[in-house]
Structure formats: C-alpha cells, structure tokens
C-alpha cells in the first residue's frame, strides 16, 4: 500500500498568558491509502489542531504536509480542500438553508475533480449509499435527526470524489446505536472505495473498529498496537 499523506517535522504552538505552549513538536507520520485511522489522545493534546493542519484548514509553523508526494502549501490550501479533502464535524455543520441533497450538490459544484455530468443523480446515489433515501434528502436540514445529518455530512465529504476524509469527534453527539452505524460507514468507505479515513475520537468503541489506532501525546504521534 502506498502513502497518501505524509507529515514531516510538523511544529505548532501558541502564546498564552506570556508563555509559549508547544502543541505539536517535530511531528512526523505517514498515512496509507484505503485505511481507517483513529487518533486518540487526552483532551487538549492538540488533536483538533493536527486535524486542521492535515485538512488544510490551518497552517503549521514549520514542517511539511505532503499529499501524494506534493507539498499541499505549494498546491494551495483552498485547492487542496476543494479537491482532495472532505471534513466531517462533530456538530454536522450542514448548511441550514439548503436541503440534504443541496448540501451534497454544493460539494460537487466546488470540486475540480472529474464527476459524471448528472450531479443530482450521483448525489442521490451517494446519499442512498450512506443510508439516506430521496424523501429525506429533499428535506430541510432542521427536519432531520442528528444521525441523519451526520450521514449527509459524510456524503458531502465524499461526494466530490475526495480521497481523504477527516472527522473530528463525529459521533460525539450521537447515541451508541447511531455511532455504530457511522463507524460501519467509515469502514465501508475505506474497504470498498479505498478512501483514507482519519477520525479523531476519544470513544474506544470507534477506535476498536478502525484499522490503525494512533495516540497523540506530548506533541507526537505513536501507533497503538
């Protein structure tokens, strides 16, 4: 299996009350294609920070992030986000004045990746795959349950044919039954579609089903075996 995302000597810190706090210290790691990762770690260890750097939502102070061997800073973070990355948030963050379908279509219009011409048909198919039927897809977001919203968020993250899916505590607001369904969804995306899934979680339940578990502690990543 080949490396899709490579972190090289990533440093990140901030100044708080006159003191400098290092969150990420010379962090290096390689993520493989088609694998479902979970990142664990104590609260405040910098998991969200690391995720935003990997997803191109923030910039590291030093070090390099390579996507398929290409420095994402050189590629341009907006372009990287648009074409390579899908993000799933803890509180779903669907756009409230759009329907589920329209949220998915939005991702499809933005990407430069090659997609079949009939976006709507594809969007319904993707939604069906994550377990959302057409009648629900056409509803306004506010009339859907949390689990349904998160499924749509996952559909939106993959609809533009992005390879990397990041999720920060995606099941934090869901009951355990729904959590199970979301985990299975991630598994399927990695196994059947070759997506690389990187999920930040403190739920053992989630991490148990992932292919690889990594611990973020003292600013570095270590595999848990």
């Amino acid at each position: 299996m080949s490396t899709i995302l490579k972190l090289e000597n990533i440093n990140y810190g901030y100044i708080d009350g006159g003191y400098r706090r290092e969150i990420l210290k010379n962090l290096s790691y390689e993520f493989e294609e088609g694998t479902f990762y979970t990142i664990l770690g104590p609260s405040g260890s910098g998991k969200t920070t690391l995720l935003s750097i990997m997803a191109g939502l923030d910039k590291q102070e030093s070090g390099t992030v390579y996507y398929d061997g290409e420095d994402i800073a050189k590629m341009g973070l907006t372009k990287y986000r648009r074409n390579k990355v899908g993000v799933v948030f803890q509180s779903y963050n669907l756009i409230s004045y759009l329907t589920g379908l329209e949220n998915v279509l939005l991702a499809m219009t933005e990407t430069d990746n090659k997609l079949p011409p009939n976006h709507k048909e594809l969007a319904y198919a993707v939604l069906r795959m994550v377990g959302i039927v057409e009648s629900k897809a056409d509803r306004m977001i506010s009339r859907l349950s949390g689990g349904e919203q998160q499924r749509i968020a996952i559909a939106r993250a993959i609809a533009g044919n992005e390879d990397l899916i990041f999720a920060d505590e995606p099941t934090g607001n869901l009951d355990s039954e729904t959590e199970q369904e979301i985990i299975r969804l991630f598994q399927m995306l990695a196994d059947r579609f070759g997506k690389t899934i990187i999920v930040v979680t403190h739920s053992n339940e989630v991490s148990r089903f992932s292919d690889r578990r990594i611990l973020l502690k003292n600013g570095v990543l270590n595999d848990i075996r």
Binding site: S43, L57, V87, F89, N93, L106, M140, E169
Partner: protein, 521 residues
C-alpha cells in the same frame, strides 16, 4: 450550488430576516426617493423656466457700479471728469462676442422715435380720445405738439434677433444686406401694415425725419439758411415684413399711447445710414447754435461718435441653458463698468425657494444614506456572527473567501433591489405630497423677503428678456420619479450595499476555518 443559487436560497428560506431587511431598504428607499425627487424636481423646474426664458444676453454699461465709483470720489474736478467719461460699450468687444459659436443672432442697435414726412403711420385706434396737444416753447408761446409716430430700429447686422426668432418675417422683397450696412445705404424694411396704409411697394421711396416740431420751428425762426430737405432722410423700401407683435388695446396706458409705440410703425434701417443722417442733422442744429452764440464750439467727430453708440447690444444664443456659461466665459474680457446681463438676478431670485428646498432635500438624502450604510453594515456584521459555522463549512469545502463575500453581496443586493423597487412606487406618491407641502411652506416663508423692486424687469419695447414670475417657475415644479431618478436610486443602493459590506468582508477575510473545529469541542 453556486454563490447566486445559495444566496437565493438563503433569502427565500430565511424569510424573517429577509422581510426585515426589505422593510429597512424600503424605508431608506422612500426617504432617498423623496429627497432626490424633490431636489430633481426643483432642478427641472429651474431648467424649464430657463428654457422658457429667451436665450438672450445683453451687453450693457454697469451704471450702478459706476455711480458707486463716483460716490467714492471727493475731488470736484475728478467727479466732473468721471461724469464726462462715463463708461461706454466697447464696439470691438461687442463684435468679438458675435464670433462665439453659441450666438445665433444679435442686435447691435439704436432705437429712435421719428416723424413721417408726407405719409401716414398705422393708426393705433385710440386717436379719437386724444385731442390736439399743445406745448409751450421758451417765452411762454404755445404751439401744436406733434407726436412722434414712427420707431426706427437701426441695426448694425442683417441677422436681427427678431428675424432669427420669427417675430419678424420678411414677406416681400428682402432684408437689407451687410453690404448696404457697410456703405450706409438709405434703405428700409417696413411693416406690411405701414405699406398697405400708404400703398407702398418694394422699390418705392419715402421720407422721415427725427427732428421734432419745436426744433424745426426754432430753425425757421433763427433765419439761418439751410436746405429743408437735409432735415429728412429719404429711404428706399427693399423689403416688407410682418411682425407678430401688436399693442394690447386693453393695456392700462393704451389711451395715451403714441403711434410710434405700435409695433406696426417700426421701420428697420441700417445703423450706418442712421448715424450718417443724424450727424448731418446735428451739424445743422449746431450751426444754428454757433450762429446764435459766437463762443459755441463744436467738435463734429464727437457728435458723430455719439450717434454711433448703440442703445442696446443683445445676443441671442442657441440654447437658454448655455446662457450662464456664455456670460461666465466672456465676462473677464470686458471693459471696466460694462457687463453681460443674462437676467440672472431675476432667475436667481425666483429660484430661491426651490434652491432652499433642494438644499434640505439633499441633506436628508445624505443623512439617510450615511445611516443606511451604518445600519446595513451592523445588521450584516451581526448576522455574520451567527453564520460563522456556515462560512467555515464553505471554506472547508474549498469555496474561496471572495466567493463567500460575493454570496453575501448578492443576498443584500437582491433584497435591496426588492426594497427599492417597492419604494419607487410609494416614494413617488410620497414625494409629490411632501414636495408640494414643503414648497407651499417655503414660498410662504420666502414671500416675507420678496422685494418689490421692479428694477429687474424691463418693460420697454426693446426688452429682450422674457418676463418670468415666481408662479411660472413654481408651476413647473412637479415631483415625478423619472427613469433617470430610478437608475440613480439603484446605483445609490448598490453603492450603499457595497460600502455596507466592507466591514463584514474584512471579518470574513480574517476568519480562520480551524476556529469552527475548535469551538465545537
């Protein structure tokens, strides 16, 4: 789901906020239309009044200013000197102005009353009211007073204003030419009525004199030898014209009018012919004085020069709206104590209530626009706070910040368009009502300052200024929402939205998408 589609969905699916904003824009729009409508109506009324006024500029001596200057003098000799050299219109300046391309026609003209010699003037119709009139000469001796019955218009140029404006139309023969002016040819163009009265035709000759009966009597009594025919000017009729002017039999002073006051008794001749004839007549008169008083000295050149001074120099321009610029462009070049008068004082005085109203209307517009910018900025900035997650998501999907701002702009502009469109309807109704009310109040207030000086108006027959009244101008004041005004309002609305979106745009540019991840933990 491009920016426009998202904007459209946002405003249609968040109706409460949209309706509130539409109401805001609607109210702003009404006030702006009100202000702009009122000031535009005032501007229109002024332009229409200007257009109604003839596009005439008169080149005059500024006696007011000169008298003020004399008042400052203390030395007796200086004062006498000043009176003797009172300002005169400069012929070269007057001629130079005619080369301006805005000039359509011009009169460089002397008007004098005259007497017919062995022919009849056109009767006025008030003759039976007037009995024979007597005047008393020096020494108390009474003699029959003969009224002047003709009016001479002696112009230096063939393209008279009256011809250009169509007040006079040559119906038979032709007008005198520049050549005839240059050679002081004794030719005349007379009215159809005067021709009919006497059976005159083109090619006939007739005689007139400018010497009154008293002077003639004096000459006869003096015993001086002179050729009586030299006192007359013999003119050949080259053309016959029709005039649109006539006396008003209902006029207050009609009963006392002299025949020369009838426009039908106006005779048009070259100014050069007039000057030559007048100088001859004057020289005879001065010879008589010289005979009677051996000390009397005459300078004939000065006498001739005296008749070469026009009584009126007036330019007719192509367009009434060019008048002000014309005056501005040429005023600098004129001699001291000569001015170009465009009847501006009257116009300015009449414009005053409208100007005051425009002034306040414009202030209202500015206040409203500034407030609009502040209100819309604040509302947008506040709602932006609640939309941070949404914007973060858009950014995480790779939407550029500029496109996020574009969406915000489209949302606002669509709402503004709707609000303003509704306001165009109600605003025009409102503007009409409020405009009339303000105008009534304004004219009532202004009437207190209204001076009764008639000095601005010229009632003589050679007045080229159109008489306009306050009512004329105010009757043209009408608030209507023109397409130009509507366009202006939409442009202004767009500008308000653009400025109002500046602060929210800065907020968006500074937004870090990571923030939405952090805040959720």
């Amino acid at each position: 789901m491009n920016a426009f589609q998202r904007a459209w969905r946002y405003i249609t699916r968040k109706p409460t906020k949209t309706v509130l904003l539409i109401i805001t824009f609607f109210l702003i729009g009404n006030l702006v239309i009100l202000g702009l409508g009122i000031s535009q109506a005032a501007e229109n009324a002024k332009v229409l009044t200007r257009q109604q006024m003839r596009a005439v500029v008169s080149y005059e001596t500024d006696y007011n200013a000169y008298w003020q200057y004399i008042d400052t003098l203390t030395d007796e000799d200086e004062i006498n000197e000043a009176y003797e050299h009172s300002p005169r219109i400069n012929k070269d300046s007057a001629l130079k102005l005619t080369t301006d391309s805005r000039v359509k026609a011009f009169n460089y003209m002397t008007n004098t009353v005259a007497y017919s010699v062995e022919f009849e003037n056109v009767p006025l119709g008030n003759e039976e009211n007037k009995g024979e009139m007597y005047a008393s000469a020096e020494g108390g001796e009474e003699f029959v007073y003969v009224e002047p019955n003709l009016m001479l218009y002696a112009n230096m140029f063939p393209n008279m204003i009256e011809l250009a404006e169509g007040t006079f139309t040559v119906t038979d023969g032709r007008f005198y030419t520049q050549d005839e002016i240059d050679t002081a040819a004794k030719v005349a163009v007379i009215t159809k009525e005067l021709a009919e009265q006497n059976g005159f035709r083109v090619g006939d000759t007739f005689r007139i004199t400018t010497v009154d009966s008293y002077t003639l009597k004096q000459l006869k009594d003096s015993g001086m030898e002179y050729n009586e025919d030299d006192m007359n000017l013999e003119l050949e009729i080259v053309g016959i014209y029709e005039t649109k002017n006539d006396v008003d039999p209902n006029a207050q002073n009609f009963q006392w009018m002299s025949p020369y006051e009838s426009p039908k008794n106006i005779i048009l001749i070259p100014m050069t012919a007039y000057t030559e004839y007048q100088s001859e007549v004057a020289s005879i008169q001065y010879s008589m004085y010289a005979m009677q008083n051996p000390d009397f000295e005459v300078d004939m050149d000065e006498i001739t020069a005296q008749f070469d001074v026009p009584s009126r120099v007036v330019y007719l321009l192509n367009d009434p709206l060019e008048v002000e610029d014309f005056v501005k462009d040429h005023s600098e070049d004129l001699d001291e104590y000569t001015i170009l008068n465009a009847n501006n004082e009257t116009f300015k005085k009449l414009s005053r209530p409208l100007d005051t109203m425009s002034f306040f209307a414009n202030i209202v517009v500015w206040i409203v626009v500034v407030n609009a910018v502040v209100i819309i900025s604040l509302v947008t900035a506040l709602t932006l706070k609640t939309r941070e997650y949404e914007i973060g998501v858009l950014l995480s999907l790779g939407v550029t910040k500029l496109k996020v701002i574009l969406q915000l702009f489209i949302e606002l502009i669509l709402i503004a368009l709707l609000g303003f469109t509704l306001a165009v309807g109600s605003g025009s109704l409102l503007a009409g009502r409020v405009g009339d009310a303000v105008l009534d109040y304004q004219t009532a207030a202004d009437a207190e300052y209204e001076t009764t000086d008639e000095g601005y108006y010229w009632y003589d027959s050679t007045d080229y200024f159109t008489e306009v009244t306050q009512d004329d101008m105010l009757s043209k004041y009408e608030v209507s929402v023109s397409p130009a005004l509507i366009l202006e309002i939409y442009i202004l609305g767009t500008a308000v939205v653009l400025i109002a979106i500046a602060i929210p745009s800065i907020m968006i540019m500074r937004l870090n998408p990571k923030q939405i991840l952090l805040e959720q933990n």
